[in-house]
């Protein structure tokens, strides 16, 4: 099992300005709201890829599904 704090730490390690809210009812399906300056000027698909890459191999394994809502923060 992977816990939410671990996911948040991974996201923030690769996106230092990010603010992350994450929920899960069953510990395998997660829903994340992410605010970050790093998303500025980046198409939605690429934003989601950034998040998946930040979390790494757990996505698709311990994390069965991760629904993502990204929000651009303008400096």
């Amino acid at each position: 099992m992977i816990d939410q704090k671990e996911i948040i730490t991974k996201i923030q390690k690769s996106m230092p300005t990010s603010k992350v809210e994450i929920e899960s009812e069953d510990g395998v399906h997660f829903f994340a709201n992410i605010w970050a300056e790093e998303f500025a000027g980046i198409p939605m698909l690429a934003q989601h890829r950034m998040v998946y890459d930040a979390i790494g191999a757990a996505v698709g394994r311990e994390i069965h599904a991760l629904s993502i809502k990204t929000h651009v923060v303008i400096k």
Binding site: M44, L45, H48, R49, V59, G60, A65, S67, I68, K69
Partner: protein, 104 residues
């Protein structure tokens, strides 16, 4: 034929391709089912690849697109995204534009 070239053929030969768990009539996962419903609501013809029947493609498509989850929707040979993005694009009307653009 390597799995990546098989995937390339699927994506290249059909306008709209959905890699999903299950079939259009019997989706085996909620996220796949949501995308199927949207495509059906838009009465779009789409080619389905049931990754549950093909373990090689199930993993290969994640490498092909550098996208770690299923379902994956392709339009005009390009990855549109997974369930979240398809829902977002549908709600904003963007998906309809993409589908008519490639259909003409």
């Amino acid at each position: 034929m390597s799995v990546l070239s098989r995937i390339e053929t699927y994506v290249g030969d059909h306008e709209v391709v959905l890699f999903m768990k299950g079939t259009a009539d019997f989706p085996q996962c909620g996220f796949s089912g949501k995308v199927v419903k949207i495509l059906k609501d838009l009465s779009v013809d789409f080619f389905v690849v049931n990754v549950l029947d093909d373990e090689e493609v199930r993993e290969g498509v994640k490498v092909f697109s550098n996208w770690p989850t299923i379902p994956q929707l392709y339009v005009g040979g390009e990855l549109v995204g997974g369930c979240d993005i398809v829902v977002d694009l549908f709600e904003s009307g963007e998906l309809q534009k993409m589908l008519t653009a490639t259909a003409s």
